[in-house]
């Protein structure tokens, strides 16, 4: 047989919506040449639950539980994003104690979310043990939250005007104990086991390189953007709550293992952010004042004047923004959510076309973007 007669074909491969590494019901149709991906096309919408329409039929306080179910891995930040938007619209003052509690729960929730990202990323790359380690420590945070508000995932804890329950001395002691327990874990166990593992670095460095300008043009935010070396964190650049009074660093990708903005950088930003979060929790613990935990009036009902507002907070995956239009009744006229995962995942097809990507790399890229499909589809 001569060379010319051998014909190879491209294969159309359907990855998802049921696939362990798409982190939910996400579908990528890839055109492959052997293991090499020539083109990928993302399909979303399998988890659409009409959040924005539901919000138009419930009063301002009843919308909070819907926000939990957007990004179910960091529900506190979604609650908070919605709460600050309504508070700005209705001109509600949040008590000092509530602001401190919000920082604490939000940062703990960020740690829990990044822990899951760390664990599942290990799974994507093929290391199973880090996943179990991450879940062991995440469990401690969930126990604290369960004690605090009776929920482990969909907290609805941060509400308009403050928080739902006060934080007891016992829970404060638990949080302190967790900080002491967790701080050394990151270096001793996680970094040793996964971050600086040779195979892990060879799998993630120089893979899925996301240049900063491209990331900005696609609206990528959060750790995925910071992985490309862009110093942007809403907690510092557009402070809300009491973040302007707290000290913390914004870790960004350094490109130390390969090119700037590769999967390893995005992963490492999350690892370093966990340490900053613990630092923030410690500061909040030290400074928490006595007082009411929620605005008395807003606890019962909220009825803003007609108008519109947009507020955003730094979630675990990026900017969580809420655009709310009020017509003067106790039911919002329109709520539009800006979900970070939605923007972050939009860059996937571009990333696979930028360089030679193999099927295993596609899994690594999706994992490093750390998407939550509940948020993408809402």
């Amino acid at each position: 047989m001569t060379e010319a007669k051998i014909r190879t074909e491209e294969m159309l491969l359907n990855m998802g919506p049921q696939h362990p590494s798409t982190h939910g019901v996400f579908r990528v149709v890839v055109r492959t040449d052997g293991e090499l991906i020539l083109e990928s096309e993302s399909h979303i919408g399998y988890l659409h639950r009409c959040f924005e329409k539901c919000a138009e039929g419930n009063n301002y306080l009843q919308v909070v539980p819907y926000t939990d179910r957007m990004d179910y891995l960091c529900a506190m930040m979604n609650n908070w994003g919605y709460a600050v938007a309504v508070e700005k619209l209705a001109g509600i003052e949040v008590p000092e104690r509530a602001e401190y509690i919000r920082v604490m729960v939000a940062e703990l929730n960020r740690v829990a979310s990044h822990l899951l990202a760390f664990g599942t990323y290990g799974l994507d790359i093929g290391a199973i043990t880090p996943f179990l380690y991450a879940f062991r420590d995440r469990e401690r945070i969930l126990k604290i939250f369960e004690k605090l508000c009776g929920q482990r995932l969909n907290y609805s804890y941060v509400r308009v005007g403050g928080v739902t329950f006060d934080m007891t001395e016992e829970i404060l002691a638990d949080i302190e104990a967790f900080c002491d327990y967790f701080d050394p874990k990151i270096i001793d166990e996680y970094d040793n086991l996964l971050s600086y593992n040779g195979i892990f670095i060879s799998r993630t460095a120089n893979v899925g390189v996301m240049p900063a300008d491209l990331a900005i043009s696609y609206g990528v935010t959060g750790p995925s953007l910071r992985g490309s070396g862009v110093q942007r964190d809403l907690r510092r650049d557009a402070p809300y709550g009491i973040y302007d009074r707290l000290e913390f660093d914004v870790p960004v990708g350094t490109g130390e293992m390969g090119q700037l903005g590769d999967c390893w950088d995005r992963y490492m930003v999350r690892m370093r952010e966990m340490r900053q979060s613990i630092r923030l929790v410690r500061q909040a613990l030290a400074g928490i004042p006595e007082g009411p935990f929620c605005d008395k009036k807003a606890y019962r009902a909220v009825k803003p004047k007609a108008g519109e507002t947009y507020k955003r907070v730094e979630g675990a995956r990026g900017e969580v923004g809420f655009y709310i239009v009020s017509d003067g009744t106790n039911i919002p006229y329109r709520v539009k959510a800006r979900a970070p995962s939605f923007s972050n995942i939009s860059i996937l097809d571009k990333l696979t076309s930028l360089s030679d990507v193999m099927v295993a790399d596609l899994v690594a890229i999706i994992g490093s973007l750390d998407i939550v499909l509940g948020e993408v589809d809402r």
């Binding site: 294969m11 491969l13 359907n14 696939h19 362990p20 590494s21 052997g34 293991e35 290990g122 799974l123 994507d124 790359i125 093929g126 290391a127 199973i128 043990t129 179990l132 380690y133 062991r136 086991l193 996964l194 593992n197 195979i199 892990f200 060879s202 799998r203 193999m358 099927v359 295993a360 790399d361 899994v363």
Partner: protein, 438 residues
């Protein structure tokens, strides 16, 4: 290469199996070690020496049957097959359980705890569940190939147990080309895997199949080079002979091998062997598709690779083959590098050897040697598990890179280095203890 190897090997295997019923018992009694002895020989020796205890019903008849001349030809063959097959199954059950326990304790979990003490019967329960499961063949699958593939994979692994010793003299058939047989029959497994992935008519299975074929064919080469080096140093393909040489031949003047010290093992024969044992271990991980070379069944990429579409017992056969292969590569490593059944402690090894040894000493020595061999192999299996639960998975191109650009050159250097060493030292080890070559 392998097709040619097959024809040679099958002729050889047929010869070996035909010969096994020969004069093994007389050889055992004479205490010589010139091969040709089989598993069954030792069983017969044990039973006829100790006899069936009198409290066993019909003990006199059983003893009579054992003494009868018809026993070696048929009974020994059946017992040999039964023992090897039984060992593989029991090992797989134990290994699956210990894999789950090892992983659990590495991951701050308990693992199976419900079925039996510490969940020891969990694998039995799982096996029964798999037996009871519906056997599903996908509608668009190539049915004959689909049904045949698991059997071929399992048979491919099981066949490699033929020239593999379990202890002193405990071998199904001591083939002259033992190591060659093991390397060659490994290709049968690849064939079965390709059949499984292709006939499943599933793109993900096909991916797994291509990866498996690429990986197993590539990694046969560093393994083959390790074999060749050992063969050159030992001057024999036979696994029995390779192990016996590592006994050190202390006091070999009267024609007996009494065992030696730990430095008589091939591992310490020369510095190249030490390096080679590491390349062999890495390649053997790839050969049996273990992490970090578990690309063929990468859970997070391909879900489970070539056996995605299999259910019930057909799936269990793949699983069984995988664990059997784990033991096999570990046992081969023990044979070619780690001194086989020699414990490396001279008094222990010498127990029960020589013309003056009592029956009790012989039996004890035999049992110790089985124990030593199995514990070495199990220790290596444990290291395989340890590696699996620690490391992430490498990518396809990196897998090829490791094989062709790292392991292959190192193995070649070790091969040449070992040859030169043998030439210069006249067969002496690092420690200057000569291996008696007649």
């Amino acid at each position: 290469m392998n097709l040619f190897a097959f024809t040679t090997i099958f002729a050889q295997a047929g010869k070996g199996l035909g010969e096994f019923a020969g004069d093994y018992s007389s050889k055992w009694d004479a205490g010589t070690y010139d091969g040709g002895l089989v598993f069954a020989g030792i069983i017969k020796w044990l039973v006829t020496t100790w006899g069936v205890p009198e409290w066993v019903p019909l003990s006199s008849i059983l003893n009579g049957v054992l003494e009868a001349s018809v026993f070696p030809e048929i009974g020994a063959l059946l017992i040999t097959i039964g023992l090897v097959f039984g060992f593989v199954n029991i090992f797989a059950i134990g290994a699956v359980w210990s894999e789950r326990k090892v992983s659990a304790h590495m991951q701050c979990r308990l693992g199976p705890m419900e079925v039996g003490p510490h969940g020891i019967l969990q694998t039995v329960a799982d096996g029964l569940k798999l037996l009871a499961k519906e056997d599903i063949i996908p509608r668009l699958a190539d049915k004959p190939l689909f049904a045949l593939a698991p059997a071929i994979v399992f048979a491919g692994v099981l066949m490699r147990f033929v020239p593999l010793p379990f202890g002193d003299q405990l071998i199904a058939s001591d083939l002259d080309l033992g190591l060659f047989f093991i390397a060659a029959v490994g290709a049968v497994e690849v064939l079965g895997v390709i059949m499984a992935g292709w006939s499943s008519n599933n793109k993900w299975s096909l991916f797994g199949t291509i990866r498996t074929a690429t990986q197993m064919v590539s990694y046969e080469i560093p393994i083959g080079l390790a074999f060749i080096t050992v063969i050159i140093c030992s001057g024999s393909f036979s696994l029995m002979e390779i192990v016996n040489q590592q006994g050190g031949s202390l006091n070999a003047s009267d024609g007996y091998v009494y065992g030696g010290w730990i430095w008589h093992w091939n591992l310490f024969r020369n510095p190249f062997m030490l390096v080679l044992s590491i390349t062999y271990f890495i390649a053997s991980l790839a050969e049996c598709k273990r992490s970090p070379f578990d690309l063929p069944e990468a859970e997070s990429e391909l879900v489970s690779g070539f056996h995605t579409e299999y259910t019930g017992m057909r799936f269990a056969l793949f699983f069984l083959a995988e664990y059997a292969a784990m033991y096999l590569v570990a046992a081969v490593a023990v044979v070619i590098f780690l001194g086989g059944w020699w414990s490396g402690i001279y008094p222990l090894d010498a127990l029960g050897l020589g013309p003056e040894a009592t029956t009790l000493a012989k039996t004890l020595g035999l049992l110790i040697k089985i124990g030593v061999f199995l514990s070495k192999a199990f220790a290596l299996v444990f290291v395989q598990m340890w590696v699996r639960w620690t490391l992430p998975r490498i990518r396809l191109d990196q897998m090829m890179y490791v094989c062709w650009k790292v392991l292959l050159p190192i193995s070649l250097v070790c091969l040449i280095g070992s040859c030169l060493w043998e030439l210069a030292s006249g067969g002496a080890s690092v420690f200057g203890f000569g291996i008696v070559v007649e």
